[in-house]
């Protein structure tokens, strides 16, 4: 099995080979510019929208009357709209852009027909847009992670299939013989995502079944989406970025194959663990719990490996903000993985089920892990793709620090508060009023933390807008330095 074979040889280091390599990579970067910008800018707009809707959602949780005069802005609508924006708007767009870029770069194949990928981005984002409006006007679903109305499924699936086909073609047409871990994960993620999406949409909307098989399908999809899709793409990004940023190879690269096998084989089985205690046969839940434990192989191998590789390269982390993003992402991968494996165990689940601990885990996974890694990816990729440095480099650490403070303020209060909430819920001598009060107080941390996170998004936005402005200037007016010098000369 060559895919999961030994670690590939580093490319030859002779001067001739090196210059050919860098020419090829520059060609790849140029070819992907248009679709990459399309995906990242769309993701960015969704990020800003999600920042606002997240604030609304979290604030309403303790101020129920805040902006509540109409149905479209009530908690029951903005909460699912927020989640859909974060998952399908922001995270998926970043995953598409970065995934395409890494597959093309590792295979050293320029992207063909980039304009068609821009069309794919229009399909995807058009679909998500219609879907968000649908949610706000009341076409939402009752399922976590499939809040989008069923009627947008064909549109976004079309966009998704396009991107997947491009990723797989880039893999088939690769010019390098070596196949890296990042490529396995990406190809697996892009193969799995359209498929699980198709199954879920078909079983929920095209041939809907009655009864509890609906939540069964929805939870199966949610588990698969989180690990097979976001887990794969996030791991791929880390496998690619960490050696680049630290200048050191991944430590136990030979173990990577086991982590990969565990993820691909067990990733689609974990979702049903969440149904524990519900109206389902015990075996369905047991299978979910067991596969969550199997995924520990993936969490431990990748998480520890990434953290180890970064810490073992002396001095690599200090002052390297982009690598620090990857570090926070790896740590969150490990922690959210442990949480996903251990929280469903029946004795723990009995307490934490239905509490805000679930929100803590979700946030750690989607934001702490995936989004932080995706930010690292964009901070690394965009200057290379545009051939333009970040204009306000000092804003990158500002983004990092606010994001980390925000993460801590969101995740820890939710986890601790959720535990207290669960203990209180299970103790009938504690009035429900008390349970609600406890949970609400702890949710204040989330609202505060989100403000920090929004600040980080603004820092990111500033850099993103300015790098594009700088780029436009240098494209439209390549002799700007000269022109400015002349103007200054005239002015003085």
């Amino acid at each position: 099995m060559t895919v999961i074979g030994p670690s590939p040889q580093p490319p030859s280091r002779d001067a001739h080979g090196a210059s050919r390599l860098s020419a090829e990579i520059a060609e790849v970067d140029r070819s992907i510019r248009l679709p990459f910008l399309f995906f990242i800018l769309s993701g960015w707009v969704w990020l800003l929208a999600a920042s606002f809707f997240g604030y609304l959602t979290f604030w309403k949780a303790h101020n129920p009357e805040f902006l509540n005069a109409q149905a479209w802005i009530s908690f029951g609508r903005v909460a699912p709209a927020f989640n859909a924006m974060l998952v399908y708007g922001f995270a998926c767009n970043f995953a598409f852009g970065l995934g395409l870029w890494i597959v093309s770069r590792l295979g050293r194949v320029p992207v063909r027909y980039p304009i068609l990928l821009a069309v794919a981005a229009i399909f995807w984002n058009g679909g998500v847009n219609i879907g968000i409006f649908g949610i706000l006007r009341g076409d939402l679903n009752v399922f976590d992670y499939f809040e989008l109305p069923g009627y947008v499924a064909p549109i976004i699936l079309a966009g998704l299939l396009f991107v997947s086909v491009w990723v797989i073609l880039a893999f088939i047409n690769r010019r390098s013989d070596a196949v890296y871990a990042a490529q396995w994960y990406l190809v697996a993620g892009f193969l799995a995502f359209p498929w699980i999406f198709l199954i879920a949409a078909a079983m929920l909307f095209v041939y809907p079944t009655a009864g509890v098989s609906q939540p069964l399908v929805a939870n199966w999809y949610a588990g698969s989406l989180l690990w097979l899709w976001f887990g794969s793409v996030g791991a791929a990004l880390l496998y690619y970025l960490i050696p680049k940023l630290s200048g050191k190879p991944i430590l136990a690269y030979d173990l990577a194959r086991f982590g990969f096998l565990a993820l691909v084989l067990a990733g689609a089985w974990t979702g049903t663990a969440r149904l524990s205690g519900g109206p389902f046969p015990a075996w369905i839940i047991t299978v979910g719990i067991a596969s969550g434990l199997l995924l520990l192989v993936f969490f431990l191998i990748t998480g520890i490996n990434f953290l180890g590789s970064m810490s073992s390269a002396p001095g690599a982390l200090s002052g390297n903000t982009v690598l620090q993003f990857a570090f926070v992402g790896s740590l969150s991968l490990l922690l959210s993985g442990l949480a996903s494996a251990l929280l469903p165990l029946r004795s723990i689940n009995e307490v934490v089920q239905f509490t805000i601990v679930g929100e803590a885990r979700h946030f750690l996974l989607l934001y702490g892990f995936f989004s932080m890694v995706a930010f690292a990816g964009v901070y690394y990729a965009l200057p290379r793709i545009l051939q333009q440095d970040w204009p306000m480099a000092f804003m990158i650490p500002a983004h990092l620090y606010t994001a980390v403070i925000g993460l801590l303020l969101v995740v820890f209060p939710l986890a601790l508060g959720g535990w207290n909430q669960g203990v209180a819920l299970n103790d009938p001598s504690i009035p429900f009023a008390e349970v609600v009060r406890t949970a609400t107080v702890w949710m204040l941390g989330r609202s505060l933390g989100w403000l920090f996170i929004i600040f980080g998004h603004l820092a990111f936005s500033l850099n993103l807008v300015l790098i594009l402005v700088e780029k436009c200037k240098s494209v439209c007016c390549p002799d700007r330095d000269y022109a400015e010098a002349v103007k200054e000369g005239v002015g003085s």
Binding site: G76, I172, L228, V264
Partner: protein, 207 residues
């Protein structure tokens, strides 16, 4: 191509096996084909039905307003959490309870109480009051108000039975009454229908 084929096989194995085992086999076990819906339990006839009429529309309103963001509709088994002790139902809910429902909002969060049996503990008047202004019933409530489901209507012959009893500032103008709109009435019909007041062979009420 060889690598792609291997990757494809691995993903196929993971997704297809879980799909067949969990979703196809699992749904089969949970479907109306497998679970009898009219049966006799300890001498009583139990006939499960789908929601019809107003309650069926009310269930859609429940979905549209996102009530599932804060409420579950499932009672966990005795000894697993404190659902029964909290009075959220007198027995565990099982697959058969939902088998004919075309929309199953089991839910994942309990910011508010479980609603699987809420029709047994509250009545229509309470529901209207709660939807209109939750804090008038519980000052600690973090439930949002659904006052937008109500409107003012001129009193014709006699006051409507569903009109809210309001006083002071909040009262409608003289000659008017504040009544629930169609969606609110449907929603309340649905909430009233949420009752676990029958036994099933696999789950009997504890008294």
């Amino acid at each position: 191509m060889k690598q792609l084929f291997t990757l494809f096989l691995l993903v196929f194995a993971g997704v297809a096996c879980s799909w067949v085992c969990l979703l196809l086999v699992g749904s089969g076990e949970l479907s109306a084909g497998k679970l009898e819906t009219s049966l006799t339990v300890a001498g009583d006839d139990v006939v499960l039905e789908t929601d019809l009429g107003l309650a069926a529309r009310g269930k859609q309103v429940y979905r549209e307003l996102g009530c599932v963001q804060c409420h579950t509709q499932q009672v966990r088994r005795p000894g697993y959490g404190g659902d029964l002790e909290r009075g959220w139902g007198s027995r565990q809910t099982v697959a058969r309870d939902y088998v004919l429902q075309d929309l199953v909002a089991l839910g994942n969060r309990r910011i508010g109480p479980d609603l699987a049996d809420v029709g047994s503990r509250r009545d229509a008047e309470w529901f209207y009051r709660h939807l209109y202004d939750p804090s008038s019933l519980a000052d600690w409530s973090t439930s949002p108000s659904y006052a937008h489901l109500f409107y003012d209507k001129e009193v014709t012959d006699e006051t409507s039975p569903t009109a809210l009893k309001l006083e002071g500032n909040d009262a409608p103008d003289p000659g008017f009454e504040r009544v629930p709109n169609f969606d609110a009435r449907a929603l309340v019909a649905y909430l009233e229908s949420l009752k676990l007041d029958y036994d099933l062979p696999e789950s009997k009420r504890v008294k």
